[in-house]
Symmetry: C2
Subunit: 200 residues, 2 copies
């Protein structure tokens, strides 16, 4: 009876050290029907990497063609390689009723908003500057100068949170994952999306 | 550290037989921090009724004064008596951080939208016409003609669901209550409402 409901596109972003990856890991454990969007890149695959798993590995020509055709929800260039979010697999999974999770950097999130008007944007907020500094330093892999630069970038990125639909404070991973879970449930109940009984 | 966050105003409505009352009962059992808004009326209290509990009992003069002052979020007149939702207690509870639930008829819900721009409107959808008819007949208190008239009204009211923010299908009370619970959690995470860490 029920038409298969088109899935959401949930963009999850936040500054380095916000813990967005950990929140998403917890979310995937508690909720079914999600699909984690795979990025495309022009960098060469490392040993063991398979196209469509870690990345879609594309030639530079193909990637640029896809940009021209409007098939990249967002992209950026780092170290002479392109990285981006291909629209095709996202729309395919949504048509199957899966909710697609796109974990990307803050700069990319605003581009997705522009290129996909019905995307839902979630900002993962670190609990405080002190905690953010602790997390960035805790990795122990970067010099104090790099950590300080990252902190400055993160502070600037936090200022963009108001442009997202939702802000989830990541002071406790389980609660933050529960919050994102509720956001998905609620967004699917928005009247514009209703295809269920009676009116469907 | 955290500013006390202003509570939501959640308007819960739906046709007769949608089961909105039962859904709200289940919601109050699973969620804290809610306040059930009490209506005002000019009808005389019945034995045992206390002003501020079942209703705020007002004189006709006071009620009309409150209308003139814009202090009624919505009101209607039945059988020569006024019934309405006073704004004062709603705003008072919201300022204390409580989420106020306003269970009202479909006609009233659209008036609240007009009079309170940050209200969140939830439509409780009966699962089907057949089930709705069964529920209305199941009460066993009304003639077939009255039941048929109610059904017609309910069908017309269902057509207004698209004007609400959210539509919750009440095919199973527990799930419907969980849905409303998630809507409240998600609405409180909307970036416009954010007053928490970092940006707060």
């Amino acid at each position: 009876m029920k038409t298969p409901e088109r899935g959401l596109l949930l963009v999850v972003s936040g500054p380095s050290g916000s813990g967005k990856g950990t929140v998403l890991e917890a979310l995937f454990k508690r909720r079914a029907g999600l699909f984690y969007s795979v990025s495309a890149t022009t960098r060469a695959p490392r040993p063991g990497e398979v196209s469509g798993e870690q990345y879609y590995f594309l030639s530079k020509e193909t990637f640029e063609q896809e940009i021209t055709r409007g098939n990249m929800l967002e992209y950026a260039r780092y170290c002479d390689n392109y990285y981006g979010s291909p629209r095709g697999p996202v729309e395919e999974k949504r048509a199957q009723g899966l909710d697609v999770i796109l974990e990307i950097e803050v700069q990319g999130a605003m581009k997705v908003r522009h290129n996909c008007s019905d995307a839902t944007l979630v900002f993962i907020m670190p609990p405080s500057i002190e905690e953010l500094a602790k997390r960035l330093r805790g990795r122990g892999t970067e010099s104090e100068e790099v950590v300080r630069k990252r902190l400055e970038t993160s502070k600037a990125e936090v200022q963009t949170a108001g442009a997202y639909d939702y802000i989830v404070l990541n002071d406790e991973v389980g609660r933050a994952a529960h919050d994102v879970d509720c956001i998905i449930t609620a967004e699917k109940l928005r009247s514009q999306r209703y295809v269920g009984g009676f009116l469907g």
